[in-house]
């Protein structure tokens, strides 16, 4: 069956880009039909999920699927290439897309005319960036991915968001320009931008290595690696929880994917430059987690954690051994799910109670036990406690560093995970334990009346069913239980938490995927052969 899939699938690869792009366009045209837009988006995302699972099965034996777009000869055409790593990342991103869209539908953000179209175009860009075998084309798809993101960021909070959006656009444009310059340098030194033809070029020619360094630097900015991480913490808390969850799983992670891929193919895993990666990742882990300790709101703590986790993921490149890459990829896949789950579960509280400030929340364990459980699972997984996927991920990472005798990196990794647990406990004690502030309910009611009341007044056409029911305060004595997080806000986060439990108990599955992906990265020859058709 696998062999048959490997025959059938490659010519269909462009559809993964063209499909969402086209359906997004159709969604944008259907101005009045909110229901149809929801349906188009969910169906498309589910189809992408199904397609990526098929690709995952087809590439699980280490096969690399390649298709020359437009049927041009090798060397002229732009190839689309899928191996285990790209299929796995695409699968997780599709899951995140579905969860975030469900959440946005529950908060009614998704009713905005361009929300779903933007998400679909974003997904088209992601699919393209994950599949393309051409660096210039990678740049183009990154831009396809970023343009709708700019729109989403500004849409979901235009006033404060505009401040965030300015930072976000400026930083990303700077990184893109740098990426473009790096690609120009690669073309100047190596004479091609085709990844397969660039195989090992940087390991042989120092000039290409420098040019590749510019490209890797540019991508590192997009991946928010310390010391170029500042933009992330200033922009992600600015937008809505749904969009933050979506972005957290997509933008930095696609950049990380590119770092893995480019270092594997262009540098052929050259171990002369690995110490740079190890130094940078250790710094990233430390700075991220220390930043989180000083923060006061759930979302900014989580965003700082994202940076520190990016450090863990990149250890895989820094080691570039079989075990190291396997661990890094495992961590990447696990982290995308867990982080989004955390953003969504705290986001549900934020959307209902009107604040993400820890000091303004409390006692949520009693009020919202379901969210508490969801948060607990994801937080423990993030900190790396068994039996969740985070434990396997951290254990594998530390084992891999010890195997290469990088004791200080292992020490940093252990230390950072203690700090991670510490700040997760900070959220836990601040938001879920303790006593609720006296004005919690009033504040939540005020927020809901203002936000949602206004939202629906302004759009009577679509106001049939408000998300968060506003019950008028009939009897002031029955304070408790007036405000409650609606179920549909909880479900997306729970869904993702369930996935992390599944990957924790069934770690074998995710581990075998990561092993195959790591094997492909260690031996990029299979990638090159598949593209060149040799």
């Amino acid at each position: 069956m696998t062999a048959e899939l490997a025959e059938i699938l490659p010519p269909l690869l462009p559809a993964l880009v063209a499909g969402p792009l086209m359906l997004g366009g159709i969604g944008a045209v259907l101005r009045k039909h909110v229901g149809i837009r929801h349906a188009i988006s969910l169906v498309t995302l589910s189809l992408m999920l199904a397609a990526s699972i098929l690709l995952l099965i087809a590439t699980h034996d280490g096969t690399v699927l390649a298709h020359q777009v437009g049927g041009w000869d090798y060397g002229i055409s732009i190839p689309f290439v899928v191996d285990q790593l790209s299929a796995a990342v695409l699968m997780i991103i599709s899951i995140l897309g579905i969860a975030s869209s469900l959440f946005a539908m529950a908060t009614h953000e998704a009713r905005a005319r361009f929300f779903h179209p933007f998400v679909l175009i974003l997904m088209a860009g992601v699919a393209g960036a994950l599949m393309t075998g051409d660096i210039f084309n990678f740049f183009v798809f990154i831009e396809v991915m970023l343009l709708p993101s700019y729109g989403l960021l500004a849409m979901m909070g235009a006033k404060l968001g505009a401040h965030g959006a300015r930072v976000y656009v400026s930083v990303n444009l700077m990184a893109s320009t740098l990426l473009l310059a790096g690609i120009a340098l690669i073309y100047a030194t190596a004479g091609t931008v085709n990844l397969a033809e660039l195989h090992g070029a940087a390991a042989e020619d120092p000039a290409v290595a420098v040019a590749g360094g510019v490209v890797l630097t540019a991508i590192s900015i997009k991946a928010a690696v310390v010391p170029v991480h500042g933009w992330l913490t200033r922009t992600y808390p600015m937008t809505s929880p749904a969009v933050t969850a979506l972005f957290s799983g997509i933008h930095t992670k696609v950049a990380i994917y590119a770092l893995y891929r480019f270092y594997s193919v262009i540098y052929d895993g050259d171990d002369r430059f690995l110490w740079v990666a190890l130094l940078v990742t250790s710094m990233t882990m430390l700075v991220g987690v220390l930043g989180a300790i000083g923060e006061k709101s759930t979302r900014s703590i989580l965003v700082f954690h994202m940076i520190s986790q990016i450090g863990y993921i990149l250890i895989g490149i820094g080691l570039f051994t079989g075990l190291g890459l396997t661990a890094g990829i495992f961590y990447l896949l696990h982290h995308m799910i867990v982080k989004a789950s955390l953003f969504l579960s705290t986001g549900a509280i934020e959307e209902t109670y009107g604040s993400s400030q820890i000091e303004r929340l409390g006692g949520m364990l009693k009020r919202e036990p379901l969210i508490a459980v969801t948060f607990m699972i994801a937080a423990l997984s993030l900190a790396g406690l068994p039996p969740f996927s985070g434990f396997v991920a951290k254990f594998a990472i530390i084992q891999a560093t010890l195997e290469q005798a990088h004791y200080w990196v292992a020490a940093v990794a252990v230390l950072v995970s203690v700090f991670t647990l510490l700040s997760m406990l900070k959220i836990w004690t601040g938001v879920f334990m303790g006593k609720a502030p006296d004005d919690l309910e009033d504040r939540a009611m005020a927020y809901q009346e203002r936000m949602h009341g206004k939202r629906y007044l302004r759009s009577e056409a679509q106001a049939e069913t408000p998300t968060l029911t506003i019950i008028p305060p009939e009897d002031p004595t029955t304070q408790h239980g007036r405000v409650k997080v609606p179920m549909k806000l909880i479900v997306p986060g729970m869904l993702l938490a369930a996935v992390t439990v599944f990957f924790g108990i069934g770690a074998e599955l995710l581990m075998s995927i990561s092993e195959v992906a790591a094997e492909n990265l260690l031996n990029p020859e299979s990638y090159v052969d598949a593209v060149s058709g040799a």
Binding site: E109, L160, S170, A184, E350, S356, S459, Q462
Partner: protein
């Protein structure tokens, strides 16, 4: 050589402009930076070969390398789109561009301690009052979600969407227009 000098000059100017404070100047800086990157592509294609790159129109040794030209064309289009987006960011928000004096910035004027709130201020500092006293710049949903009320709703098929076929930012602008006092009052206060 001349290309190298041009790239150097463009990059220098770009860095200087990006370091400036006003959004419009930053955008100009980015335009220069993208020109520098485009010129690098031309340099990569070896400017010594300048013939027309169509088959049969010039000798193979003289025709230009068409690939960098195609790259540059693509890059120009992308940079153009983002520039337009950034320009709209610079002008469509209440916090206007180029408020170099902090005391003159919209944030200060619209803030709780500010003078008699204008219509714009009324509309926008709604959530800044006692209910959410010490809202940090980037910490509270109440603030960051503010304009879903405007953009989200407008985008979903009310007036704003009708006025704008393409852009959510435009929707937001349309929303301001619906509130005639919004931008003008604040501009006057700035003066």
């Amino acid at each position: 050589m001349s290309v190298a000098i041009a790239i150097g000059l463009l990059t220098t100017a770009a860095v200087y402009m990006v370091m400036q404070r006003g959004m419009v100047r930053i955008i100009l800086g980015f335009i220069l930076a993208s020109h520098a990157a485009n010129l690098m592509f031309f340099a990569a294609g070896n400017t010594a070969f300048r013939g027309v790159p169509y088959i049969g129109t010039s000798e193979y040794g003289e025709g230009a390398d068409p690939l960098p030209q195609a790259f540059v064309l693509t890059a120009i289009v992308i940079a153009f789109a983002i520039t337009m987006y950034m320009l709209s960011l610079a002008i469509t928000t209440i916090r206007d561009d180029d408020t170099e004096d902090d005391e003159q910035s919209a944030v200060k004027i619209l803030g709780p301690a500010g003078a008699a709130p204008s219509a714009a201020a009324e509309r926008n500092i709604d959530y800044r009052d006692d209910d959410f006293p010490d809202r940090g710049d980037e910490s509270d949903v109440a603030g960051s979600k503010l304009d879903i009320t405007t953009t989200g709703a407008a985008g979903a098929g009310t007036g704003g969407a009708d006025a704008s076929p393409a852009s959510p930012v435009h929707d937001f602008e349309g929303d301001i227009d619906a509130d005639p006092n919004a931008t003008t009052t604040q501009r006057e206060e700035n003066r």
